[in-house]
Symmetry: C2
């Protein structure tokens, strides 16, 4: 099957390609030979991903380099901290890596965030390539250059906008992905359909079973549509000052729910519920019809994602956690709401009572 | 006395002004009101600088903001580490600072490096202003956007190219600067004269005493000439891939000497000696005359800077430390050498025996 290429354009010649398809990984050696000849290679990954894909990547790279450095850390959000960056950078220095180094970020969202940020600060920046291994990273976090680590006070508070040189999305990686993680990624994919892309919405409706069965051409279309949407948004607003906010559909209430669960709920589940709350508020404000809301809820449900607030979570707790968001610019609720099928907009100063009502309606 | 403005131009609208003169600090409130209305202000500085200039800056800012946050750390290179960045960022989060924050970097080179890097990574970047208080920071480190911290393995191994929104150089700060620190800064200033600017060389020769007496118009001309030279180089090579290497005149051997002294020798002293070694090698390669070498040595001597390798340092030790430089791209000695009065060039693969001979000639 042929590969698909999406181009993300950015000012100042910083645009790059996203290569998608079965065995896309096989295109890696040529890309490196053409663009980073004589660079040392370092793979940054987590222990779980390394165990699964080490042999695979080593074999692919063997045609160009038999001396690849592998550095890994414990899988999970807890590794997303500054000390991990310091440890990895020290290991790279000890291994003699100079500015002429290419970083390969192999893994899910956490790996991409850590490896991307590390690349942006190591000797004041070295290039890197995103090689996402989870659906969530493929459709969302590997594209767009948001990198960073957490502080004890909150998530992603230290970081950089730093774009990869390319993103290589090999859909075969999904064959070993646990079903639950695949489903978490589907929530982010559905976000593009519900908020940005009516034709992707139709495609989803027609192909729920094919998606769950990992049918190659269906996955390729799904992922490339998501990347295409993301690439357009990022091209228009790289530094998250305007339209990029649209990518936060479901994330305002979603983050509040995630935080008040102590990060025990899956990110995708929380985003799914957050989108249902956003749809409810959109109906209350006469921005979409009840029929359109039902269509959204129905799609999420068919994908196996939750539609309602889990037991034990009050609107009080969720709103409190939302207010605690360290990056909130002002003392008001800014939300992405729906104004049509596959259409959304940013609404500033959403009435808190409306949010409470919507949460209670879904409890 | 009027202020002088040097414009540093950069692609993609990222250029900025360097404002120089007595009481330049008084221009700060207007600049902030015009460009960063409704931003929260945080001053990042060290304990020593805070003790000296706190009242001064508070008074200047009082017309626009009575709620400035001050964060400081212990003065000295030992603070230039990742944990300082983490501590400062956490304090900023605790104080409720969002992306709408302006950082004021008040201090010498270490403060500028730390505050600039912190600004580049806090919530994926907030703007900052350089307010250098030492001569070295005024003529060199505050301009050009090199920011960063050290690792146990070496200096400046973690960092970012991140440009300030403006640089405000108030020459009155120099009145309280210890003489020794002033002299260290003179070495970097002389670097521009010797390597890049023959007319600045003439100016130096004519004004050694006036400089030492801190005569205001003389200081203004000296500092603005240095900034003008640096701005031109940085405009042409922001990311240090070509002509910016010229700013390393005296730094290859200088860093080797500095490292092998365990960082006990002043940076300026080491750069001065490094320039003398570079001049010697340039004579050996018939790139300049002995007369031109003598002129360089004479200028440095008249400025009170050393011309010879201190006792107890062998060429072996210095060369070994040079080879240990973690950012060296290849296994060869790349040096900036002189090819005329106020003229220099980068020479790759300088014969190690030549360096040894030059060091021994100056021992």
């Amino acid at each position: 099957m042929d590969l698909k290429t999406i181009s993300l354009s950015l000012p100042h010649d910083r645009g790059y390609d996203i290569i998608i398809g079965e065995d896309a990984l096989l295109s890696l050696p040529d890309f490196i030979s053409s663009n980073f000849k004589d660079y040392r290679l370092v793979v940054i990954t987590d222990n779980t991903v390394k165990r699964i894909f080490y042999d695979n990547l080593i074999a692919v790279l063997s045609t160009i380099d038999n001396n690849v450095l592998w550095l890994s850390f414990n899988a999970g959000e807890a590794s997303k901290k500054i000390s991990t960056i310091e440890t990895l950078a020290s290991q790279m220095v000890e291994a003699g890596l100079t500015r002429q180094t290419l970083v390969l970020a192999l893994g899910g969202g956490v790996v991409g965030d850590i490896a991307g940020f590390l690349s942006s600060v190591y000797m004041r920046s070295v290039p890197f390539i995103q090689i996402p291994t989870t659906l969530l990273a493929m459709v969302d976090s590997s594209v767009g250059g948001k990198t960073g680590v957490d502080l004890p006070q909150g998530k992603n508070l230290i970081g950089a906008f730093y774009q990869p040189s390319t993103v290589i999305i090999d859909t075969l990686f999904l064959e070993t992905l646990p079903v639950d993680q695949f489903q978490q990624g589907l929530a982010e994919a559905a976000k593009y359909a519900i908020g940005l892309d009516a034709s992707l919405f139709d495609f989803f409706i027609d192909n729920v079973e094919n998606i769950k069965n990992l049918e190659p051409d269906i996955l390729m279309h799904l992922i490339s549509s998501c990347c295409d949407n993301k690439a357009k948004v990022v091209s228009g607003d790289e530094h998250d000052r305007g339209m990029r906010h649209l990518l936060n559909l479901g994330h305002t209430v979603g983050h509040g729910l995630e935080a008040s669960s102590g990060y025990k709920f899956g990110h995708g589940d929380c985003v799914s519920i957050g989108m249902c709350v956003a749809a409810r508020i959109s109906v209350m404000l006469n921005m979409i019809s009840e029929k359109e809301e039902a269509n959204c809820n129905d799609l999420l449900k068919r994908l196996g994602l939750p539609n309602s607030i889990p037991k034990g979570f009050s609107s009080d707790n969720i709103i409190k956690a939302m207010k605690h968001d360290k990056k909130r610019l002002a003392d008001q609720h800014i939300m992405v709401l729906l104004n049509g099928r596959g259409k959304s907009c940013v609404i500033k100063d959403v009435d808190e009572n409306l949010i409470i009502k919507a949460i209670e309606a879904l409890s």
